[in-house]
Amino acid sequence: MTDVEETTATLPLVRKCPFSPPPEYEALRTENPVSRVGLPSGQTAWALTRLEDIREMLSSPHFSSDRLDPAFPMMVARQIRREDKPFRPSLISMDPPEHSRARRDVVGEFTVKRMKALQPRIQQIVDEHLDALLAGPKPADLVQALSLPVPSLVICELLGVPYSDHEFFQARSSKMLSREVSPEDRQAAFEQLENYLDELVTRKEANATEDDLLGRQILKQREAGEGDHDELVSLAFLLLIAGHETTANMISLGTVTLLENPEQLAKVKADPDKTLPAIEELLRVFTIAETATSRFATADVEIGGTLIRAGEGVVGLSNAGNHDPDGFENPDAFDIERGARHHVAFGFGVHQCLGQNLARMELQIVFDTLFKRIPGIRIAVPVDELQFKHDSTIYGLHALPVTW
Protein backbone atom coordinates (compact mmCIF):
# COMPACT_ATOMS: atom_id res chain seq x y z
CA MET A 1 0.00 0.00 0.00
CA THR A 2 1.51 3.29 -1.04
CA ASP A 3 -1.31 5.58 0.00
CA VAL A 4 -0.39 7.84 2.89
CA GLU A 5 -3.57 9.67 3.69
CA GLU A 6 -6.20 10.04 6.29
CA THR A 7 -8.91 7.43 6.36
CA THR A 8 -12.12 7.93 8.29
CA ALA A 9 -12.70 4.30 9.19
CA THR A 10 -11.60 0.76 8.50
CA LEU A 11 -14.18 -1.53 6.94
CA PRO A 12 -16.04 -3.60 7.69
CA LEU A 13 -17.86 -1.70 10.41
CA VAL A 14 -19.82 -4.04 12.65
CA ARG A 15 -23.48 -3.90 13.63
CA LYS A 16 -23.82 -3.20 17.36
CA CYS A 17 -27.52 -3.98 17.41
CA PRO A 18 -28.28 -7.09 15.34
CA PHE A 19 -31.30 -5.38 13.71
CA SER A 20 -29.60 -2.07 12.80
CA PRO A 21 -26.72 -0.98 10.58
CA PRO A 22 -23.37 -0.12 12.16
CA PRO A 23 -23.96 3.14 14.11
CA GLU A 24 -20.97 4.84 12.43
CA TYR A 25 -22.83 4.94 9.10
CA GLU A 26 -24.98 7.86 10.12
CA ALA A 27 -21.98 10.03 11.03
CA LEU A 28 -20.20 9.05 7.81
CA ARG A 29 -23.27 9.86 5.73
CA THR A 30 -23.86 13.27 7.28
CA GLU A 31 -20.24 14.39 7.75
CA ASN A 32 -18.29 12.61 5.04
CA PRO A 33 -20.60 10.80 2.60
CA VAL A 34 -17.78 9.98 0.18
CA SER A 35 -14.87 9.14 2.45
CA ARG A 36 -11.54 7.36 2.36
CA VAL A 37 -11.54 4.10 4.29
CA GLY A 38 -9.09 1.31 5.01
CA LEU A 39 -9.86 -2.28 4.05
CA PRO A 40 -8.86 -5.61 5.64
CA SER A 41 -6.81 -6.33 2.49
CA GLY A 42 -4.54 -3.35 3.30
CA GLN A 43 -6.03 -1.32 0.44
CA THR A 44 -7.57 2.12 0.74
CA ALA A 45 -10.88 2.81 -0.97
CA TRP A 46 -13.77 5.24 -1.13
CA ALA A 47 -16.87 4.40 0.90
CA LEU A 48 -20.25 5.64 -0.30
CA THR A 49 -23.02 5.98 2.27
CA ARG A 50 -25.76 7.93 0.43
CA LEU A 51 -28.38 6.01 -1.51
CA GLU A 52 -28.22 8.24 -4.59
CA ASP A 53 -24.41 8.10 -4.74
CA ILE A 54 -24.48 4.31 -4.55
CA ARG A 55 -27.13 4.07 -7.27
CA GLU A 56 -25.17 6.49 -9.45
CA MET A 57 -21.90 4.58 -9.00
CA LEU A 58 -23.52 1.20 -9.70
CA SER A 59 -25.18 2.44 -12.88
CA SER A 60 -22.09 4.24 -14.20
CA PRO A 61 -20.16 2.56 -17.03
CA HIS A 62 -16.93 3.88 -15.48
CA PHE A 63 -16.75 1.32 -12.66
CA SER A 64 -15.50 -2.23 -13.04
CA SER A 65 -16.59 -5.37 -11.22
CA ASP A 66 -13.47 -7.35 -12.16
CA ARG A 67 -12.50 -9.04 -8.91
CA LEU A 68 -9.27 -10.36 -10.40
CA ASP A 69 -7.93 -6.83 -11.00
CA PRO A 70 -5.52 -5.68 -8.26
CA ALA A 71 -7.48 -2.41 -8.04
CA PHE A 72 -10.67 -4.17 -6.93
CA PRO A 73 -11.34 -3.36 -3.24
CA MET A 74 -11.18 -6.62 -1.32
CA MET A 75 -12.90 -7.12 2.03
CA VAL A 76 -10.73 -10.17 2.79
CA ALA A 77 -7.14 -10.99 1.94
CA ARG A 78 -6.94 -11.99 -1.70
CA GLN A 79 -7.27 -15.73 -2.18
CA ILE A 80 -4.13 -17.46 -3.41
CA ARG A 81 -4.81 -19.63 -6.39
CA ARG A 82 -2.65 -22.35 -7.87
CA GLU A 83 -1.05 -21.21 -11.11
CA ASP A 84 -2.13 -24.35 -12.93
CA LYS A 85 -5.76 -23.59 -12.11
CA PRO A 86 -6.52 -19.91 -12.66
CA PHE A 87 -9.79 -18.39 -11.52
CA ARG A 88 -12.48 -18.38 -14.12
CA PRO A 89 -14.38 -15.10 -13.81
CA SER A 90 -18.06 -15.60 -13.09
CA LEU A 91 -20.85 -13.17 -13.95
CA ILE A 92 -20.22 -11.02 -10.87
CA SER A 93 -16.63 -10.37 -11.99
CA MET A 94 -17.36 -9.51 -15.62
CA ASP A 95 -17.87 -6.10 -17.18
CA PRO A 96 -19.93 -5.21 -20.26
CA PRO A 97 -19.97 -6.16 -23.06
CA GLU A 98 -18.79 -9.63 -21.95
CA HIS A 99 -21.06 -9.48 -18.90
CA SER A 100 -24.08 -8.39 -20.95
CA ARG A 101 -23.70 -11.39 -23.25
CA ALA A 102 -23.16 -13.88 -20.42
CA ARG A 103 -26.03 -12.52 -18.32
CA ARG A 104 -28.41 -12.49 -21.26
CA ASP A 105 -27.62 -16.17 -21.89
CA VAL A 106 -29.00 -17.15 -18.50
CA VAL A 107 -31.40 -14.40 -17.38
CA GLY A 108 -34.34 -16.07 -19.14
CA GLU A 109 -34.05 -18.80 -16.49
CA PHE A 110 -34.90 -16.30 -13.74
CA THR A 111 -37.81 -14.28 -15.10
CA VAL A 112 -40.78 -13.58 -12.86
CA LYS A 113 -42.85 -16.09 -14.88
CA ARG A 114 -40.24 -18.83 -14.62
CA MET A 115 -40.05 -18.35 -10.86
CA LYS A 116 -43.83 -18.53 -10.61
CA ALA A 117 -43.70 -21.88 -12.40
CA LEU A 118 -41.42 -23.18 -9.64
CA GLN A 119 -43.95 -22.26 -6.96
CA PRO A 120 -45.63 -25.70 -6.55
CA ARG A 121 -42.32 -27.52 -6.21
CA ILE A 122 -40.92 -24.97 -3.72
CA GLN A 123 -44.17 -25.28 -1.73
CA GLN A 124 -43.74 -29.05 -1.65
CA ILE A 125 -40.13 -28.76 -0.41
CA VAL A 126 -41.16 -26.29 2.31
CA ASP A 127 -44.05 -28.52 3.39
CA GLU A 128 -41.84 -31.60 3.61
CA HIS A 129 -39.32 -29.77 5.78
CA LEU A 130 -42.03 -28.42 8.05
CA ASP A 131 -43.49 -31.94 8.35
CA ALA A 132 -40.08 -33.16 9.51
CA LEU A 133 -39.67 -30.19 11.88
CA LEU A 134 -43.09 -30.81 13.47
CA ALA A 135 -42.40 -34.54 13.82
CA GLY A 136 -39.04 -33.94 15.49
CA PRO A 137 -37.95 -32.85 18.98
CA LYS A 138 -38.49 -29.38 20.46
CA PRO A 139 -36.70 -27.01 20.46
CA ALA A 140 -35.34 -27.33 16.93
CA ASP A 141 -32.81 -25.28 14.96
CA LEU A 142 -34.72 -23.55 12.18
CA VAL A 143 -31.48 -22.86 10.27
CA GLN A 144 -30.77 -26.58 9.86
CA ALA A 145 -34.41 -27.64 9.58
CA LEU A 146 -35.64 -25.05 7.08
CA SER A 147 -33.49 -21.99 6.26
CA LEU A 148 -30.53 -23.83 4.73
CA PRO A 149 -32.08 -26.93 3.11
CA VAL A 150 -34.92 -25.17 1.27
CA PRO A 151 -32.85 -22.80 -0.92
CA SER A 152 -30.17 -25.45 -1.25
CA LEU A 153 -32.61 -28.04 -2.55
CA VAL A 154 -34.29 -25.57 -4.87
CA ILE A 155 -31.05 -24.41 -6.48
CA CYS A 156 -29.91 -28.02 -6.67
CA GLU A 157 -33.01 -29.03 -8.60
CA LEU A 158 -32.91 -25.93 -10.79
CA LEU A 159 -29.29 -26.56 -11.77
CA GLY A 160 -29.88 -30.26 -12.27
CA VAL A 161 -27.85 -31.91 -9.52
CA PRO A 162 -28.86 -35.59 -9.30
CA TYR A 163 -30.64 -36.46 -6.08
CA SER A 164 -28.10 -39.19 -5.30
CA ASP A 165 -25.33 -36.56 -5.18
CA HIS A 166 -27.24 -34.17 -3.00
CA GLU A 167 -25.57 -35.03 0.32
CA PHE A 168 -22.09 -34.54 -1.10
CA PHE A 169 -23.18 -31.26 -2.63
CA GLN A 170 -24.74 -29.90 0.54
CA ALA A 171 -21.96 -31.07 2.88
CA ARG A 172 -19.32 -29.18 0.87
CA SER A 173 -21.34 -26.03 0.48
CA SER A 174 -22.21 -26.01 4.20
CA LYS A 175 -18.52 -26.36 4.99
CA MET A 176 -17.61 -23.49 2.69
CA LEU A 177 -20.16 -21.28 4.36
CA SER A 178 -19.19 -22.15 7.93
CA ARG A 179 -16.78 -20.13 10.02
CA GLU A 180 -16.08 -23.18 12.14
CA VAL A 181 -13.77 -24.76 9.55
CA SER A 182 -10.11 -23.89 8.99
CA PRO A 183 -9.06 -21.91 5.88
CA GLU A 184 -7.39 -25.08 4.56
CA ASP A 185 -10.57 -27.09 4.99
CA ARG A 186 -12.58 -24.31 3.38
CA GLN A 187 -10.20 -24.20 0.42
CA ALA A 188 -10.46 -27.99 0.17
CA ALA A 189 -14.26 -27.79 0.18
CA PHE A 190 -14.04 -25.07 -2.50
CA GLU A 191 -11.89 -27.27 -4.73
CA GLN A 192 -14.00 -30.38 -4.12
CA LEU A 193 -17.13 -28.47 -5.01
CA GLU A 194 -15.50 -27.00 -8.10
CA ASN A 195 -14.25 -30.45 -9.18
CA TYR A 196 -17.69 -31.86 -8.50
CA LEU A 197 -19.35 -29.20 -10.67
CA ASP A 198 -16.69 -29.70 -13.34
CA GLU A 199 -17.56 -33.41 -13.50
CA LEU A 200 -21.28 -32.69 -13.33
CA VAL A 201 -21.06 -30.33 -16.31
CA THR A 202 -18.97 -32.92 -18.20
CA ARG A 203 -21.65 -35.57 -17.55
CA LYS A 204 -24.37 -33.20 -18.66
CA GLU A 205 -22.46 -32.32 -21.82
CA ALA A 206 -22.56 -36.02 -22.72
CA ASN A 207 -26.31 -36.19 -22.21
CA ALA A 208 -27.85 -32.74 -22.10
CA THR A 209 -31.61 -32.47 -21.67
CA GLU A 210 -34.10 -29.64 -21.38
CA ASP A 211 -34.90 -30.74 -17.82
CA ASP A 212 -32.52 -28.45 -15.98
CA LEU A 213 -30.69 -25.15 -16.28
CA LEU A 214 -27.25 -26.59 -17.05
CA GLY A 215 -28.67 -28.92 -19.69
CA ARG A 216 -30.59 -26.05 -21.29
CA GLN A 217 -27.46 -23.87 -21.32
CA ILE A 218 -25.46 -26.64 -22.99
CA LEU A 219 -28.11 -27.12 -25.67
CA LYS A 220 -28.32 -23.37 -26.19
CA GLN A 221 -24.55 -23.08 -26.58
CA ARG A 222 -24.56 -25.92 -29.12
CA GLU A 223 -27.32 -24.35 -31.13
CA ALA A 224 -25.23 -21.19 -31.36
CA GLY A 225 -22.24 -23.27 -32.43
CA GLU A 226 -20.42 -22.51 -29.20
CA GLY A 227 -19.41 -24.46 -26.13
CA ASP A 228 -17.77 -23.08 -23.04
CA HIS A 229 -17.34 -25.72 -20.39
CA ASP A 230 -15.49 -23.53 -17.88
CA GLU A 231 -18.10 -20.78 -18.09
CA LEU A 232 -20.81 -23.28 -17.19
CA VAL A 233 -18.79 -24.55 -14.21
CA SER A 234 -18.28 -21.01 -12.92
CA LEU A 235 -21.95 -20.21 -13.52
CA ALA A 236 -23.03 -23.31 -11.58
CA PHE A 237 -20.66 -22.37 -8.75
CA LEU A 238 -21.92 -18.79 -8.59
CA LEU A 239 -25.59 -19.79 -8.64
CA LEU A 240 -25.03 -22.32 -5.90
CA ILE A 241 -23.18 -19.98 -3.55
CA ALA A 242 -25.15 -16.82 -4.29
CA GLY A 243 -28.53 -18.52 -4.18
CA HIS A 244 -27.91 -20.43 -1.04
CA GLU A 245 -26.60 -18.69 2.04
CA THR A 246 -28.21 -15.39 1.13
CA THR A 247 -31.77 -16.70 1.05
CA ALA A 248 -31.10 -18.98 4.03
CA ASN A 249 -30.02 -16.02 6.14
CA MET A 250 -33.01 -13.95 5.07
CA ILE A 251 -35.35 -16.78 6.11
CA SER A 252 -33.77 -16.85 9.60
CA LEU A 253 -33.48 -13.07 10.04
CA GLY A 254 -36.99 -12.52 8.69
CA THR A 255 -38.49 -15.10 11.02
CA VAL A 256 -36.85 -13.49 14.07
CA THR A 257 -37.83 -9.98 13.00
CA LEU A 258 -41.45 -10.88 12.36
CA LEU A 259 -41.68 -12.76 15.67
CA GLU A 260 -40.17 -9.74 17.44
CA ASN A 261 -42.73 -7.44 15.78
CA PRO A 262 -46.01 -9.25 16.51
CA GLU A 263 -48.26 -6.40 15.33
CA GLN A 264 -46.60 -6.49 11.90
CA LEU A 265 -46.62 -10.29 11.83
CA ALA A 266 -50.36 -10.14 12.53
CA LYS A 267 -50.82 -8.02 9.40
CA VAL A 268 -48.87 -10.56 7.32
CA LYS A 269 -50.92 -13.43 8.73
CA ALA A 270 -54.19 -11.61 8.06
CA ASP A 271 -53.44 -10.62 4.47
CA PRO A 272 -51.28 -12.67 2.06
CA ASP A 273 -50.78 -9.51 -0.04
CA LYS A 274 -48.67 -8.10 2.80
CA THR A 275 -46.00 -10.81 2.57
CA LEU A 276 -44.12 -9.41 -0.43
CA PRO A 277 -44.01 -5.84 0.95
CA ALA A 278 -42.79 -7.31 4.25
CA ILE A 279 -40.04 -9.15 2.38
CA GLU A 280 -38.93 -5.94 0.60
CA GLU A 281 -38.73 -4.23 3.98
CA LEU A 282 -36.75 -7.12 5.49
CA LEU A 283 -34.36 -7.01 2.54
CA ARG A 284 -33.88 -3.26 3.01
CA VAL A 285 -33.47 -3.35 6.78
CA PHE A 286 -30.83 -6.11 6.79
CA THR A 287 -29.04 -5.68 3.43
CA ILE A 288 -27.11 -8.87 4.15
CA ALA A 289 -24.67 -8.71 1.19
CA GLU A 290 -23.73 -5.09 1.57
CA THR A 291 -20.21 -5.14 0.12
CA ALA A 292 -21.21 -7.00 -3.05
CA THR A 293 -21.62 -3.45 -4.36
CA SER A 294 -17.84 -2.85 -4.51
CA ARG A 295 -16.18 -1.65 -7.72
CA PHE A 296 -13.14 0.27 -8.95
CA ALA A 297 -13.08 3.30 -11.24
CA THR A 298 -11.88 2.86 -14.82
CA ALA A 299 -11.88 6.62 -15.50
CA ASP A 300 -11.82 9.80 -13.45
CA VAL A 301 -15.42 10.34 -12.42
CA GLU A 302 -17.22 12.53 -9.91
CA ILE A 303 -19.60 10.89 -7.43
CA GLY A 304 -21.43 12.92 -4.81
CA GLY A 305 -19.22 15.93 -5.55
CA THR A 306 -15.97 14.01 -5.02
CA LEU A 307 -13.52 13.18 -7.78
CA ILE A 308 -12.76 9.47 -7.88
CA ARG A 309 -9.71 8.72 -9.98
CA ALA A 310 -9.20 5.82 -12.37
CA GLY A 311 -7.88 2.81 -10.47
CA GLU A 312 -9.40 3.78 -7.11
CA GLY A 313 -11.64 1.30 -5.32
CA VAL A 314 -15.14 2.17 -4.18
CA VAL A 315 -17.28 0.32 -1.66
CA GLY A 316 -20.95 1.16 -2.01
CA LEU A 317 -22.11 0.56 1.54
CA SER A 318 -25.57 -0.51 0.50
CA ASN A 319 -26.71 -1.03 4.07
CA ALA A 320 -25.86 2.63 4.76
CA GLY A 321 -27.69 3.62 1.56
CA ASN A 322 -30.71 1.59 2.55
CA HIS A 323 -30.89 3.56 5.81
CA ASP A 324 -30.41 6.95 4.18
CA PRO A 325 -33.21 9.27 5.40
CA ASP A 326 -33.16 10.98 2.00
CA GLY A 327 -34.21 7.68 0.45
CA PHE A 328 -36.45 6.26 3.17
CA GLU A 329 -38.44 8.23 5.71
CA ASN A 330 -37.68 7.19 9.29
CA PRO A 331 -35.23 4.63 7.85
CA ASP A 332 -34.45 2.71 11.03
CA ALA A 333 -38.08 1.72 11.60
CA PHE A 334 -39.16 -1.73 10.43
CA ASP A 335 -42.40 -0.97 8.66
CA ILE A 336 -43.93 -3.50 6.26
CA GLU A 337 -46.36 -0.83 5.04
CA ARG A 338 -43.52 1.34 3.76
CA GLY A 339 -43.95 0.15 0.18
CA ALA A 340 -40.44 1.33 -0.74
CA ARG A 341 -38.85 -0.85 -3.40
CA HIS A 342 -35.95 1.33 -4.49
CA HIS A 343 -33.59 -0.21 -1.92
CA VAL A 344 -30.26 -1.58 -3.10
CA ALA A 345 -30.26 -4.83 -1.12
CA PHE A 346 -30.00 -6.70 -4.44
CA GLY A 347 -27.58 -4.10 -5.80
CA PHE A 348 -28.35 -1.79 -8.72
CA GLY A 349 -27.17 -1.46 -12.31
CA VAL A 350 -26.20 -4.26 -14.65
CA HIS A 351 -25.18 -6.62 -11.84
CA GLN A 352 -28.42 -6.42 -9.88
CA CYS A 353 -29.02 -9.88 -8.39
CA LEU A 354 -29.89 -12.43 -11.06
CA GLY A 355 -31.75 -14.63 -8.58
CA GLN A 356 -33.75 -11.92 -6.83
CA ASN A 357 -37.12 -13.23 -7.97
CA LEU A 358 -36.23 -16.76 -6.91
CA ALA A 359 -35.29 -15.36 -3.49
CA ARG A 360 -38.61 -13.48 -3.25
CA MET A 361 -40.57 -16.58 -4.23
CA GLU A 362 -38.78 -18.76 -1.67
CA LEU A 363 -39.17 -16.19 1.11
CA GLN A 364 -42.84 -15.68 0.31
CA ILE A 365 -43.64 -19.39 0.41
CA VAL A 366 -41.56 -19.96 3.54
CA PHE A 367 -43.09 -17.11 5.58
CA ASP A 368 -46.66 -17.79 4.45
CA THR A 369 -46.38 -21.49 5.19
CA LEU A 370 -44.31 -21.30 8.38
CA PHE A 371 -46.67 -18.96 10.23
CA LYS A 372 -49.77 -20.73 8.92
CA ARG A 373 -48.67 -24.24 9.85
CA ILE A 374 -46.93 -23.34 13.14
CA PRO A 375 -48.89 -20.33 14.39
CA GLY A 376 -47.50 -20.77 17.91
CA ILE A 377 -43.85 -20.75 16.81
CA ARG A 378 -41.54 -18.79 19.10
CA ILE A 379 -37.82 -18.31 19.64
CA ALA A 380 -36.62 -20.80 22.24
CA VAL A 381 -33.90 -18.56 23.72
CA PRO A 382 -33.72 -14.84 24.57
CA VAL A 383 -33.02 -12.84 21.41
CA ASP A 384 -29.76 -11.43 22.83
CA GLU A 385 -28.44 -14.99 23.03
CA LEU A 386 -28.87 -15.58 19.30
CA GLN A 387 -25.63 -15.87 17.34
CA PHE A 388 -25.68 -13.33 14.54
CA LYS A 389 -23.00 -13.47 11.83
CA HIS A 390 -21.32 -10.19 12.78
CA ASP A 391 -18.02 -11.02 11.12
CA SER A 392 -19.26 -12.64 7.93
CA THR A 393 -19.42 -11.15 4.45
CA ILE A 394 -23.03 -12.28 4.30
CA TYR A 395 -24.91 -11.27 7.44
CA GLY A 396 -27.22 -13.77 9.04
CA LEU A 397 -27.76 -16.21 11.88
CA HIS A 398 -25.69 -19.26 12.77
CA ALA A 399 -28.58 -20.99 14.51
CA LEU A 400 -32.18 -20.20 15.39
CA PRO A 401 -33.62 -22.38 18.16
CA VAL A 402 -37.41 -22.38 17.91
CA THR A 403 -40.21 -24.13 19.73
CA TRP A 404 -44.01 -24.16 19.43
Binding site: D105, G108, T111, V112, K113, R341, Q352, Q356
Partner: protein, 64 residues
Protein backbone atom coordinates in the same frame (compact mmCIF):
# COMPACT_ATOMS: atom_id res chain seq x y z
CA UNK B 1 -47.78 9.41 -20.60
CA UNK B 2 -45.84 7.03 -22.80
CA UNK B 3 -43.47 4.28 -21.60
CA UNK B 4 -40.24 3.96 -23.55
CA UNK B 5 -38.12 0.84 -23.12
CA UNK B 6 -34.53 0.38 -24.24
CA UNK B 7 -34.09 -3.39 -24.42
CA UNK B 8 -30.36 -2.89 -25.07
CA UNK B 9 -29.99 -1.55 -21.54
CA UNK B 10 -32.41 -4.02 -19.92
CA UNK B 11 -30.75 -6.52 -17.54
CA UNK B 12 -33.86 -8.70 -17.17
CA UNK B 13 -34.28 -8.22 -13.42
CA UNK B 14 -38.07 -8.25 -13.78
CA UNK B 15 -38.61 -5.39 -11.34
CA UNK B 16 -41.07 -3.78 -13.78
CA UNK B 17 -43.15 -6.98 -14.04
CA UNK B 18 -43.31 -7.17 -10.26
CA UNK B 19 -44.47 -3.55 -10.18
CA UNK B 20 -47.32 -3.99 -12.64
CA UNK B 21 -47.83 -7.15 -14.72
CA UNK B 22 -50.49 -5.33 -16.77
CA UNK B 23 -47.91 -2.85 -18.02
CA UNK B 24 -44.84 -5.05 -18.40
CA UNK B 25 -43.76 -8.57 -19.30
CA UNK B 26 -40.42 -10.24 -19.94
CA UNK B 27 -39.20 -12.02 -23.05
CA UNK B 28 -39.08 -15.76 -22.38
CA UNK B 29 -35.82 -16.03 -24.24
CA UNK B 30 -33.57 -13.39 -22.72
CA UNK B 31 -35.72 -11.85 -19.99
CA UNK B 32 -35.74 -8.38 -21.55
CA UNK B 33 -38.68 -6.05 -21.02
CA UNK B 34 -41.82 -6.14 -23.13
CA UNK B 35 -44.11 -3.16 -22.69
CA UNK B 36 -47.69 -4.46 -22.73
CA UNK B 37 -49.35 -1.09 -22.22
CA UNK B 38 -47.25 1.70 -23.75
CA UNK B 39 -49.71 4.40 -22.75
CA UNK B 40 -50.95 3.69 -19.22
CA UNK B 41 -54.20 5.34 -18.23
CA UNK B 42 -55.42 6.15 -14.76
CA UNK B 43 -53.64 7.30 -11.59
CA UNK B 44 -52.65 3.85 -10.39
CA UNK B 45 -51.21 2.68 -13.70
CA UNK B 46 -49.32 5.97 -14.13
CA UNK B 47 -47.93 5.75 -10.62
CA UNK B 48 -46.83 2.16 -11.26
CA UNK B 49 -45.09 3.24 -14.46
CA UNK B 50 -43.20 5.94 -12.53
CA UNK B 51 -42.18 3.39 -9.87
CA UNK B 52 -40.97 0.96 -12.53
CA UNK B 53 -38.83 3.68 -14.10
CA UNK B 54 -37.39 4.63 -10.71
CA UNK B 55 -36.41 1.12 -9.64
CA UNK B 56 -35.28 -0.27 -13.02
CA UNK B 57 -31.68 -1.36 -12.32
CA UNK B 58 -30.57 -1.06 -15.95
CA UNK B 59 -32.25 2.35 -16.31
CA UNK B 60 -33.84 0.92 -19.42
CA UNK B 61 -37.21 2.60 -18.86
CA UNK B 62 -38.19 6.21 -19.31
CA UNK B 63 -41.39 8.25 -19.70
CA UNK B 64 -42.36 10.69 -22.40
Amino acid sequence: MKIIADTGKCVGAGQCVLTDPDLFDQSEDDGTVIVLTPEPEGDEAEENARTAVHICPGQALSLA
